[in-house]
Symmetry: C2
DNA sequence: GTTTTTGCAAACCATTTGCAGGGTC
DNA sequence: GACCCTGCAAATGGTTTGCAAAAAC
């Protein structure tokens, strides 16, 4: 759950027009905690009676991604999901039980990436780190076992 | 470019039947260096006169992935690609210029993942690290500039 | 001989695009 | 007022499925 105004603000800052559908979708996405798929957004929107077309959902997701307000996640299943998050470079830990996410600062990964570049001889421009597991609540609920 | 017999062997070890289409597709994938998409495999197969249906390509890719002979890559574009690789846990560096890849041992990432688990309170079961950049040859070709 | 696998074609699902009307700056 | 954005519906492209014949074990 992120503040919807942050999402809208990012859109504004990136030069996108603040239209009703975008505001509504931004609020909707900010209200979801955990990763959501485009289909999920379409469904939620329908459920709330928003009259937005599929195309607008995809276009808005695209705009929000460009604006840095949401980020794409590649789930182990192969599906694409998105999470509302801060624009700074970071990574996500996703709970496979409840879908909750936590952001992780890049931290020491930068050093590791540098080291990998040195060892392989590649010039590394970009990296993605995604972590999956169980959040504290789900670990608790499962008695320390699986989620 | 991996040895096709390794790929076939992995299928065998995982209990899959060794059929002609699977052998042919395994050889084809092993011969490609760099990541390949399902569509690419379908095309190459057609080009070589293999009479395999799309479905078989997808099913074989699935089998090979389960067998640990190939691994899925999530390209920055959002497309799914695969690479033939060793079954041990590792990560990939992909050249955005020529598609060449290098495998990177998990190495110090394990420690970093542990640290992240401690900081977030999540029990981390799985992680994916993907790196993108330019391989030595492409860096060279571009005079040290972009790929 | 039993069970898995294949090819084909149709079905499916997610995502994109063209276009005319409407809203934002 | 100019330009961006929206909804709709159709087009697209990738992936899966049902099924009878064929192959592997």
């Amino acid at each position: 759950m992120t503040d919807a105004s942050l999402v809208v603000g990012a859109l504004d800052a990136a030069g996108y027009r603040l239209t009703a559908p975008r505001r509504a979708l931004a609020a909707l996405m900010a209200a979801i905690n955990g990763p959501f798929t485009a289909a999920r957004v379409v469904d939620e929107a329908r459920g709330r009676g928003l009259r937005v077309g599929r195309a607008t959902v995809f276009r808005t997701i695209d705009a929000l991604e460009r604006a840095g307000a949401i980020e794409r996640l590649d789930l182990p299943s192969g599906d694409h999901a998105y999470v509302a998050c801060a624009p700074a470079h970071h990574h996500h830990v996703v709970c496979s039980g409840c879908g909750r996410t936590a952001e992780v600062a890049d931290g020491d990964l930068a050093a590791l990436v540098g080291e990998i570049g040195r060892r392989t001889g590649f010039r590394i421009d970009e990296h993605r780190l995604e972590l999956f597991g169980s959040c504290p609540a789900c670990v608790e609920a499962a008695g320390g076992g699986d989620a």
